[in-house]
């Protein structure tokens, strides 16, 4: 699987490259600035891109903007965005096109190599990987809403993991229950929230994320 890595700090870029290589990813390019990233994404057509939000030369959210622009060119291009901080605002922008293949994680998550690699794989396959911090913020905010109040604590847990983009199997493993139990929980959750049931894992995740974000969605000026 071919990866483009964009990160301006040498130590982190080097670390990411080493880790990905150790897990048998092929590094198509490791770049350090926005323009380079744009070029690499257009020319090398990688299977997945791992991108730092803040990149030179502007040191604003250049990485994010490059990724969004590349996805407009090539819808569904898998991009995993890394950042020192996570913002729901950015998560919303990344998810806006609804085509999946999006990851948004804190840089800290690379500490746990297995989980991080799992997230990269998930994203490259068109899945979603949202940082637990984004999800827990969304959940706290929606927790006063009536439909959310009907969820059992277990269902909440399942919902939280599902919103992060985990598959039923992964959720089952984490909560030490059977996959069938997880499937039952998810169908309960969808019933209680009034969301359309779907067999497609990824569509399910996006539906949950959209539900969580909807409560106070407001037009974004950009």
């Amino acid at each position: 699987m071919r990866v483009v890595v964009a990160e301006d700090l040498f130590l982190l870029r080097d670390g990411l490259v080493r880790m990905l290589e150790a897990y048998d990813f092929e590094i198509a390019a490791a770049v350090e600035s926005g323009p380079e990233l744009t070029r690499a994404l257009a020319e090398l057509k990688p299977d997945v891109a791992v991108v730092d939000v803040r990149l030179p030369p502007s040191f604003t959210d250049e990485g994010l903007q490059c990724a969004l622009a590349a996805r407009r060119e090539r819808p569904g291009l898998p991009v995993l965005v890394l950042s020192q901080h996570v913002e729901q605002l950015y998560a919303r922008e990344l998810l806006a096109d609804g085509s999946g293949g999006i990851g948004y994680l804190l840089k800290d998550r690379v500490f746990d190599a297995d989980q991080f690699i799992d997230a990269v794989r998930r994203v490259s396959e068109g899945g979603t990987a949202m940082d637990p911090q984004v999800i827990s913020q969304l959940l706290t905010r929606r927790s006063q809403d009536r439909p959310m109040g009907h969820l059992t604590p277990r269902e909440r847990e399942v919902m939280e993991l599902m919103a992060q983009g985990r598959s039923n199997a992964a959720i089952a493993a984490q909560l030490v229950v059977t996959e069938r139990a997880v499937a039952k929980h998810t169908s309960n959750i969808f019933g209680k929230l009034g969301l359309p049931q779907s067999d497609d894992d990824n569509r399910r995740v996006l539906a949950v994320l959209a539900y969580l974000d909807r409560g106070r969605a407001e037009p974004n000026g950009r």
Partner: protein, 424 residues
């Protein structure tokens, strides 16, 4: 409508002339009070009397703006906060007031107001009533007057018969018309004259500005020193301590790795947790110094992201032309953040509204909540801290918070948009 407005200028002229007569009383009492200072009694009465004088002058400033659109700013130095109580405080206050040149200029204005000011205001009033008198004469009143005292001069018309009385009536109508025309002008002249004495001189404006700058500079220095101290403490007790702990753990792991791999693994996990926590602390610290979204996207998106993090719904409306200077953006952001957090914590609000826009060189911010109200800019409170920090940018803050709510905090910061930093 226009005639009515002009007529009201006449009535206003009468009102102002009455006020100008009151200037005599105020003047006499103030001068007496000051004259009694050597006897001691004046020390007690002068501050009160200067207070009355200022109220009297402020009333004229107010009327000037309301009736003639003449803006007269207040030249008074702000009263010292740290006054002592009792007689000493009274003496201090008296000295302070007498040292303020504005007090003496006010006193000078009283003299002008009771003479020239009075005459002009009375003229603004007098034309229409005098004009009416012409008609009254023509109606027959001229007869007894002429019988009793001979020729009666109405303006330039010697009234001796019905014919000349009719002429007087005609002149009177002319005078009324003239009065309608000049009354507003005369009233305005009165206020301009008052403004010449009541408005601060350029030198006083400058002195006030220097004083304000000194004050806000002190505030700015204090604030940034406190901020650095806080950052130092946070780093020292937080990330730094965690890194030390991690270093120690790694040392132990090195020693244990062969003897007791299981224990070493346990310690490694702990070290990793520690590093994650250190990162989380650093992240919070960075957010407190300069929020990343602010650096990346500017004020608009930074407050949108902030609103998304609040537990209470915040409706955000931002209309700004691009970016502002970084310090302004940061000051505005932290002010908003603090107000929203306080409102969420103390007001009992279920909803908040945030409105930011830029017009006429001013960044205007309004934060409203539907909570219990009762917020104030009390000394030492959160809002007064924000007010002081905005002061560095010549920004101002106002609060409207009646008991029972809603609370609205408005802020204005003069600033101009800056060109975006180069991208790509």
């Amino acid at each position: 409508m226009k005639v009515r407005k002009r007529l009201s200028a006449c009535v206003q002229g009468l009102g102002v002339s009455v006020l100008a007569l009151m200037s005599i009383v105020v003047s006499v009492l103030t001068v007496l009070s000051i004259a009694f200072i050597p006897l001691g009694l004046g020390v007690l009465t002068t501050p009160a009397m200067v207070g009355v004088l200022r109220k009297h002058a402020n009333q004229r400033r107010l009327l000037a703006a309301k009736w003639s659109g003449v803006q007269i700013r207040m030249p008074y130095r702000p009263l010292p906060h740290d006054r002592r109580s009792g007689i000493t405080g009274q003496v201090e206050l008296c000295t302070f007031l007498l040292k303020d040149p504005a007090t003496w200029r006010d006193l000078l204005w009283l003299q002008v107001d009771m003479t020239a000011g009075y005459v002009i205001a009375l003229l603004a009033f007098a034309f229409p009533p005098y004009g009416v008198e012409g008609s009254v004469l023509a109606a027959g009143v001229w007869e007894p007057i002429v019988d009793a005292g001979g020729t009666y001069w109405y303006a330039f018309v010697p009234v001796t018969s019905q014919g000349t009385a009719n002429l007087a009536a005609l002149t009177g109508i002319g005078l009324i018309a003239l009065g309608l025309f000049v009354s507003p002008l005369l009233l305005r002249t009165h206020f301009l004259l008052a403004g010449a004495f009541l408005a601060p001189t350029p030198q006083m404006t400058l002195a006030a500005r220097v004083e304000r700058l000194t004050e806000t500079r002190t505030d700015a220095v204090d604030t940034s020193a406190a901020e650095l101290r806080r950052i130092e403490r946070d780093l020292h007790d937080g990330a730094q301590a965690r890194l030390v702990a991690m270093g120690m753990s790694l040392g132990t792991i090195e020693a244990l790795i062969e003897k007791d791999p299981a224990k070493a693994k346990e310690l490694l996990a702990a070290a990793r947790t520690n590093s994650a926590e250190a990162l989380a602390e650093l992240r919070d610290l960075v957010r407190g110094i300069h929020p990343p979204v602010l650096a990346e996207r500017g004020l608009g998106d930074a407050v949108r992201a902030l609103a998304l993090r609040m537990t209470i719904p915040v409706e955000t409306e931002v209309e700004v032309p691009g970016r502002f200077a970084e310090p302004v953006e940061a000051a505005a952001y932290f002010a908003i953040s603090e107000i929203l957090t306080n409102a969420a914590k103390h007001s009992g609000a279920a909803r908040m509204w945030l409105d930011i826009h830029h017009e006429a060189g001013m960044l205007r911010i309004a934060v409203t909540d539907n909570g219990n109200g009762g917020a104030s800019v009390a000394q030492g409170g959160g809002l007064s801290g924000i007010e002081r920090r905005l002061g560095t940018f010549d920004g101002v803050l106002a609060v409207s918070s009646p008991p029972g709510g809603p609370t609205m905090v408005t802020m204005e910061i003069p600033c101009a948009p800056v060109a975006p930093r180069p991208t790509v």
